[in-house]
Symmetry: C2
Subunit: 768 residues, 2 copies
């Protein structure tokens, strides 16, 4: 089927697709020419700073800003008391400046704009806030108990009213059919994105009250919509908002929502009449930029003697923190592996998001999938063991297959799960290495992820404008966002391929809500698929126009003509040969001539999840398998990753080097999540908010990662491609946990898998 | 005919067209927020400076840059000897850095890039150039003589080989038919644009060799093409050039070409690897930015006893200066009034452009038309007097009429010359005031100008991309350029009108060759007509899409639907009523939905002039009449302008306030040209290159100007409009000269009409 996308003749051999094209933004990045938000300076720009809460939970008795206001160089001091109320977040429960009460250490109590960052910092210290401390609650299970302090009194409960429940088939029936059942609880920690570019923005009003926000956001169109609320609050309804995206120094989901600091910057710009920049320090980035939500998952799965899964039953509690950002919506994605990773006929899933006085979470690469997959895939090994089946065989028995429809009504198109399992088995020398139990072990874990967008909003579309100039160069205005993942390069490859041009002929423009058509943002691993199809279909339209003109001009049937390598050729007439730039000039410089410009809006053929949380919410699904070989020191619990294999079905690798970058980058992030990352909170306060105390993978820590690219040519994807941004992180932790089990016979059910936990587990094992 | 464009029903009454909309850029300009090239700062930016020639004509014996190179903070010193040759200008006779020889004081001998402007200036002084002075020639007639110094030895002659000759009918036959003939010589001076924003640019290479130039150019696409030459010279053929237009602080034609300073800045950026900014000082702007070319015109015209013109015979000599920019092509526009101002059956025109060691000229508002019209319209009064016919009557007899085809084959569509003549007659109280001869007098002069573009290039087109967002706002990406004339506002009005939106809903984006479609530049008074039609047709396409969607959604016939005041209505069904933003969201957020984006490329239906210099090179023609009342002091020759009336047939005033702005601004510039402006050169050297010694009109100098807008609704123009940028300048000088004649009986045939010249003429009159 999709194999027909493969080139059939010399003329159809790809020149850009499948090439190892270095990232187009690499040159400027290594030369320091990339303009991050930190580098942007506007004339007369002021600097903003936020005063954070001193308590996890307290009443605000009074705020005295008079000393700060008197400091020379201070241009505005704002609080919740002298500004209109603006609320942000998924359910708008987060006032951007807090009044009456603080609910977390991240609460914004006041803010200052001043001539320099130093003056702003000084001014913040001069603000006197009198608090009356309140009892706090820092554990979601405690927060659910009768009599627990209420984070939002008006809500009447700490448990959010969210529709996170899914039933497929009949779990009780599945339990009955099972010969083996395992029930366990898994625990996932609070981790954070650690973007090297800290959060920040610049807000500026023009003389007519229109707002421009410079921001390294992943969602410039949804942010544009959110920022309208600030205008409404300021009595500027109907004025325009423009979001200009600066280079993103890492996103990973942290920049997928709008946050109080952005609205505060807008308010400061409004009240000073000058551009205001507010950028987080590294310390602020650690405690004030939301991370991945902590999860407790109670999971049980069962199988028949033959190893066929009969049910999966999952209950989760998520620590929602004090307010509600995207973290609270991750159960919508956790449903995906729970319902559709392996063929499982009977499924139940319930999740509760519970307010605490901890800092709140947001989206992070994988968006809940790593947490759910850790529980599922760790437990699968236990269940396989119980059933006496090799874990690899067990996965083969239950694997997903091309064309199936899963219990959640996902329409699986291409599916390379089998190929991925086989590749990892071979690369890991599974049969030789498994089950030795001598302190060395191998483990694997599979994953499913959306690979064709994810309809989380009414539109999952992306727009493209293609403009060809007189020099054979293309402006590709795309609403996609490149946060380092390489979209710019991939989109240039797609357009260059389709138009017979070279990658360097394409200028990819992705920066300004006023220039590019709408897009749902960089998330759900959707850019290659959605923006890629949008660019591809635009390029096809442009090609059609070019060939039509050429056919008329050269009196050669259009069907015979093709574009390749900056040239127009005819299949039948060797005398037809013309450079594309010359052809474009001929199209322009004639009577009724024109430059060729086309636009395209591509919204994938998908559905929003219905009330039962079912529907085909992605146009394609990406599958992958992680394999790990570990060596664990039984005395110290030190884990050494000897090898990591990541096999991913990417549909088509438009740029194998970029795919490898994602596999290795996701692998590295997954290793960090598995082995060392955890933001430690004590009564809501971050204890290790710096790179000395919060450990992430560094170059010396990195094991060899072997990337295996499996190509299944998805027929809906651009040149067959599927999304691959998030998956390479997802299966890391269970693969490691499974390898540790293979090495030592201990099961670690709580991330990160630290030496302390291994030692404790070994001691527990001895004890039992 | 075109009157059918008038609104017929309430629903069709205009909401934006015809409104006095303040210029959209006014707010930012008065608040100092507009970013001129002077305001743009890039990280690590260096500052460039040029070493100008010390002589009008000399051999370069040697250039020693060693001392300059050793000055700390100097990053590059370039000359014609250490850089590849790049030539610029209309016939590429101007090497951007001079070698072997200098030919004018404006010659660029060396240039420096340094950390600060001060260091660059210091470094320039450290460059030792040894010259060997050559004899110069500073008068074009002397330059034509045998044995005159040759400016370009390789050309063999100082007279340029240009095709400036036009014959219509038979001038000798016309002479025979004439009862009265007048033959005279007129002389026009060197004047300059006096842009308040001096010339300048910033050049920057990215890490891959692609070039970005920030420039307040009027021709960003032709500049983009020109700058490719720099890349070719540097071995970077095939790399991309992007021109980003910064706010233009006045253009008037001075920024219609590319000049050596821009290529020098590019070279400095290339050799330093850093962005380089080069901005002229005011003194440099006066001598180094080319102005309007000096002209000597020998003209004879004849008429019958009844006052019908029988022929017009014009010979011109233009001082071309040392190199060739657009000044040398102004005869192509001078042909227009010579052939087509009034009905003249027999015409001959010959022009010679002659090299001298003076500084060269370029385009300037009117582009030759003011010089030619001064001669024609001054002489017309003399001829009318000779024939004993009132000059106003004389003009009515010979006036142009709608629908006529002129001898140069211009297809006149709308023509309000009669209405303009009548309006000026009335406003000036012509019958009461004419012919009193008591030191007060009235004078008039007509004009023709292109009003529908001018096909001076293979394409006279302009592109538009229109993008409508979810908030009912429009991004209008237009390749037009606003240099103060108000195009931004006019285009927003056109789009707002067509889409039933408000002007403030439209964001006009005109800045970057990579974003907007091609355009021929801001010249020939073409923006309202060409960019206006482009925007209008784009808006019509968008409207069509909106109404089609609305018709389907509301099940209401499309023909019944219309957009007005941010609402959709039905003509027949009062229950149909919906805000446009809601409608756009409905179009977006549906299955297979999309945001509405359209593009348009409009190239007017015109012809390039043929070998005989004939053809309909504009799609519409603008007519106008200047009327002036003067009072002249017979003792001192001081002229006081009591009143100036400017009546212009603009087709349709899309923005009457903006039209008045053009009429008053053009009138002011015309008054300066008529009464005071002249760049004095002594052996090629500018003597009065500053605002103390070079006089332009200031507020206290301004007489009352009465603007009369005549609307003829040209059927090809957007909503009936024609171009009006240049015409209000054109007839000023002859109207004043004619009024002076009426006041004193002396004829001043040389601009500016200074008190000295009047006193001298009065003395000559007494003497004769």
């Amino acid at each position: 089927m999709a194999k027909t996308l493969e080139p059939k003749t010399k003329e159809m051999e790809f020149t850009s697709i499948g090439q190892r094209v270095p990232k187009l933004d690499a040159w400027d990045k290594v030369q320091g020419k990339t303009m991050y938000i930190h580098d942007v300076k506007l004339p007369r720009m002021l600097h903003g700073k936020i005063l954070w809460s001193k308590y996890a939970h307290a009443r605000i008795v009074s705020i005295d800003t008079s000393k700060a206001e008197q400091l020379p160089g201070v241009r505005a001091v704002i609080t919740g008391y002298n500004t209109p109320e603006i609320r942000c977040g998924f359910i708008k429960d987060n006032p951007v400046l807090k009044k009456d009460k603080v609910r977390q250490y991240r609460d914004e109590v006041a803010a200052v704009a001043a001539d320099t960052p130093e003056i702003a910092e000084e001014a913040i210290k001069l603000i006197d806030v009198v608090y009356e401390e309140l009892p706090g609650v820092f554990d979601p299970e405690e927060a659910m108990q009768e009599g627990a302090p209420l984070i939002h009194e008006d809500k009447g409960s700490n448990v959010l009213k969210l529709p996170w429940k899914m039933i497929c088939g009949d779990v009780e029936e599945g339990r009955k059919q099972a010969d083996y059942i395992v029930e366990e609880t898994y625990k996932l920690p609070f981790v954070t994105h650690c973007c090297l570019g800290t959060s920040g923005c610049i807000a500026q009003f023009d003389a007519k009250g229109n707002l421009t926000v410079y921001s390294p956001t992943q969602i410039r169109y949804l942010a544009q919509k959110d920022f309208q609320e600030a205008l409404n609050a300021l009595g500027l309804k109907g004025k325009k908002v423009k979001v200009i995206q600066t280079a993103i120094g890492g996103g990973f989901g942290s920049k997928l929502d709008t946050y109080p600091f952005e609205f505060i910057t807008i308010l400061l710009a409004y009240y000073t009449g000058r551009p205001v920049k507010l950028v987080y320090s590294r310390e602020e980035e650690f405690f004030a930029s939301p991370g991945r939500q902590p999860v407790r998952a109670k999971i049980s799965q069962g199988c028949t003697k033959e190893g066929k899964l009969t049910f999966r039953d999952v209950e989760m509690i998520l620590d929602n923190g004090a307010y509600t950002s995207w973290g609270a919506t991750t159960p919508s994605v956790m449903m995906m592996p729970i319902s559709s990773l392996y063929q499982v006929p009977n499924i139940r899933y319930v999740a509760k998001c519970v307010h605490t006085n901890n800092i709140y979470s947001t989206a992070m690469r994988g968006y809940g999938n790593p947490q759910a997959t850790f529980a599922i895939e760790s437990q699968l090994d236990t269940l396989a063991e119980k059933a006496g089946i090799d874990p690899w065989e067990f996965r083969m028995i239950n694997r997903n297959k091309p064309g199936e429809i899963t219990p959640q009504k996902f329409e699986v198109g291409s599916c390379g799960m089998k190929e991925c399992l086989e590749a990892v088995k071979e690369k890991l020398q599974w049969d030789e290495k498994r089950g030795k139990g001598n302190g060395r072990g191998v483990g694997i874990a599979s994953l499913i992820h959306v690979g064709g967008g994810a309809r989380i909003y009414k539109s999952d579309g992306c727009g493209t404008i293609l403009k060809l100039d007189d020099f054979g160069k293309v402006s590709l205005l795309t609403s996609a966002s490149d946060m380092g993942q390489g979209s710019e390069t991939v989109l240039a490859q797609i357009v260059a391929e389709e138009l017979g041009l070279h990658v360097e002929d394409v200028d990819v423009i992705m920066k300004d809500t006023n220039l590019e058509i709408w897009d749902a943002g960089a998330h759900a691993s959707r850019s290659t698929f959605v923006a890629g199809n949008s660019a591809l279909y635009a390029a096809r339209k442009a090609k059609e126009e070019i060939l039509e003109f050429a056919a008329t001009m050269l009196k050669e049937p259009k069907e015979n003509l093709y574009l390749r390598d900056r040239m127009l050729y005819s299949r039948n007439n060797p005398e037809v040969s013309m450079t594309i730039d010359k052809l474009l000039r001929a199209a322009h410089f004639r009577t009724n001539g024109r430059q060729i410009v086309v636009s395209e809006f591509y919204d994938p053929p998908t559905q929003m999840l219905d009330r039962e949380m079912k529907g085909n919410f992605s146009a394609a699904y990406t599958y992958g398998v992680h394999g790990v070989e570990v060596e664990v020191d039984k005395e110290t619990g030190q884990i050494k990753i000897l090898k990591m294999v990541i096999a991913m079905d990417v549909g088509r690798a438009i740029n194998p080097m970029a795919v490898e970058g994602q596999l290795e980058g996701g692998g590295a992030m997954g290793l960090g999540y598995s082995l060392m990352e955890e933001l430690h909170l004590e009564k809501g306060k971050v204890l290790n908010g710096n790179f000395l105390d919060y450990k992430i993978m560094t170059f010396p820590d990195m094991p060899p990662i072997e990337s295996v690219i499996v190509e299944t040519y998805d027929e809906k994807g651009p040149f067959g491609a599927k999304g691959i941004g998030e998956p390479p992180l997802v299966g890391s932790a269970p693969a490691i946990a499974n390898a540790v089990w293979d090495a030592l016979g201990v099961r670690i059910r709580e991330l990160p898998i630290t030496p302390e936990k291994i030692v404790a587990a070994l001691e527990g094992k001895k004890g039992s």
